[in-house]
């Protein structure tokens, strides 16, 4: 769950959702395997005085298998996505719809399969890379459905606040989208607060920089560069 206030645009972004690990298998050889579901609702709001008109709502639902082998972990994921123009824009622009092979008259919806490999040699550093393939490309006439992701996470040592633990973090990710032939970049710099060092639930507050094409499906081909102040609730 997260909230972000754009600092250089009059926009707000909200996220609800999470990952639910349904089953985890831990054999005696220190490997672990999991299967789970995830769902996410992502909303983009404008601001008009004291009201916040909806510009876009995107929904994701998926399932994954994951495995952990020492410093390495892998995840295979199948994801469904749909995007919906906010009702405040109904008189301004026509909703973008997907159909087989491109933009048409059917509901915007598509799926991808993707694979991620993560390497975490220490508690303070993690690197990951992955690639995936959409069942249909975004733009009619463009046939490359592939995408690739590279990212890293760097954490400071923990410091104590009473019995809780806090640390700084810096993340960077690059995503290449074959159908638009564009690189999306995201950088986060913030603090992460936990009940203890081993706790899974965290509260994060971060400065976020994004540059690339808009992440909301209805505006997929609109360049977007924003700086935001964001809070995230990880569970």
């Amino acid at each position: 769950m997260g909230l972000a206030a754009y600092l250089n645009q009059v926009n707000y972004e909200g996220q609800v959702g999470g990952t639910l690990e349904m089953v985890r298998y831990s054999p005696p050889d220190d490997t672990q395997y999991g299967w789970g579901l995830f769902a996410l609702g992502d909303i983009l709001l404008g601001e008009d005085g004291a009201t916040f008109p909806m510009l876009d709502g995107d929904f994701y639902i998926g399932t994954y298998f994951s495995g952990s082998f020492g410093n390495f972990s892998v995840r295979i994921e199948a994801l469904h996505e749909s995007t919906h123009l906010g009702d405040s824009l109904f008189t301004v622009q026509t909703p973008l719809f997907y159909s087989g092979g491109g933009i048409g008259t059917a509901t915007y919806t598509r799926e991808n399969g993707n694979f991620t490999l993560s390497f975490q040699p220490t508690e303070s550093f993690r690197f990951y890379t992955g690639m995936g393939c959409w069942d249909q490309p975004l733009i009619t006439g463009v046939s490359n459905p592939l995408f690739a992701t590279f990212g890293s996470e760097i954490y400071s040592p923990y410091w104590s606040i009473d019995s809780s633990s806090m640390r700084g973090y810096l993340t960077g990710s690059l995503q290449w989208k074959g159908d638009q032939n564009v690189w999306d970049t995201e950088i986060q710099l913030g603090v992460q607060w936990k009940a203890s060092r081993t706790a899974e639930r965290t509260l994060r507050i971060a400065l976020l920089f994004y540059s690339g094409d808009n992440q909301f499906g209805q505006f997929y081909n609109v360049p977007d560069t924003h700086l935001a102040l964001a809070s995230f609730f990880d569970f």
Binding site: G17, A39, G41, I43, F59, D87, A106, A195, T202, L203
Partner: protein, 272 residues
């Protein structure tokens, strides 16, 4: 921007004031047990109504920031919740157009003393017409509301719970001058546990939830749910539920709040 910083400083200040007590930061489970019979409680849900070509989904979470124990028998908590409720139509060919989506964001204080627990919640909801109705004759309304809700809950045993309390709309848009006070009540009934395969615990459950509102000339929304609940641990809130349910009243989605709605449905619920 300034509001964000004020929020952060208030949050830091509040945490400092409770450090002197015994406190848990970001506990794994909320102090106030979620009202699983309330279809507007944040949870992960898919419901298939049997008498209409539509599907209802809910993506939502309740998140206690802090719990603190003020004496041997009393605990307090402060947290937030957020949820998105969406209704999808069905056009065949695996196409599910968005009919409407409602978005909730709230904050609450809760308290628990023995079998009695209470929750005071301030919640914002906005409702948005889905793009299925783009260029249609269905008119969009600007639906935005805030409410204060006080719910008291009493566990007579591990198998029986009742709850209820008054609620008040502090902001209504559209505001047609209807009474702002409304009431919610309900009950949860559970069977004993049965051992299931892989060490899972299974029990049956039934819930009833009622809301009495002054809007649209007076509305009584009722939900009856009966199903099975799977848990890994008996004392954990985390569960998977499958249930049959019946709903009658007015439509729960803000864009259609004046329209009567009644359906039987099958649902899967994930309580994180």
């Amino acid at each position: 921007m300034n509001k964000n910083f004020i929020f952060i400083f208030l949050f830091m200040g509040l945490t400092q004031t409770v450090l002197a007590d015994r406190w848990d930061f970001l506990p794994a489970e909320p102090l106030f047990n979620p009202l699983i019979g309330d279809l507007r409680e944040p949870q992960y849900t898919i419901i298939a109504p049997l008498n209409k070509a539509a599907y209802d989904g809910d993506i939502g979470q309740t998140f206690d920031f802090i719990q603190w124990q003020s004496d041997e028998s009393t605990k307090w908590a402060w947290g937030i919740n957020g949820a998105s409720f969406l209704e999808l139509g069905s056009k065949g060919n695996a196409e599910f157009p968005l009919l409407v989506s409602d978005w909730y964001l709230g904050t609450y204080f809760s308290e628990k003393s023995g079998n009695l627990s209470n929750r005071l919640e301030f919640e914002h909801v906005s409702s948005h017409l889905g793009d299925f109705y783009f260029n249609s004759s269905v008119e969009r309304i600007i639906y935005s509301r805030e409410s204060l809700r006080i719910i008291s809950s009493y566990d007579f045993s591990q198998n029986f719970r009742v709850y209820g309390g008054p609620c008040y709309w502090t902001h209504l848009s559209p505001d047609s001058g209807d009474p702002r006070l409304f009431f919610q009540a309900g009950a949860e009934l559970y069977s004993g546990y049965y051992n299931f395969f892989l060490g899972l615990h299974l029990r049956g459950y039934a819930t009833y939830n009622i809301e009495v509102l002054g809007e649209a000339g007076g509305v009584v929304n009722q939900t009856i749910e009966a199903g099975l609940q799977w848990r890994w641990k008996k004392d954990s809130h985390q569960s998977l539920r499958t249930a049959a349910l019946y709903y009658t009243g007015n439509n729960l989605y803000g864009q259609f709040y004046q329209n009567p709605d009644s359906y039987f449905g099958l649902g899967i619920f994930f309580d994180p």
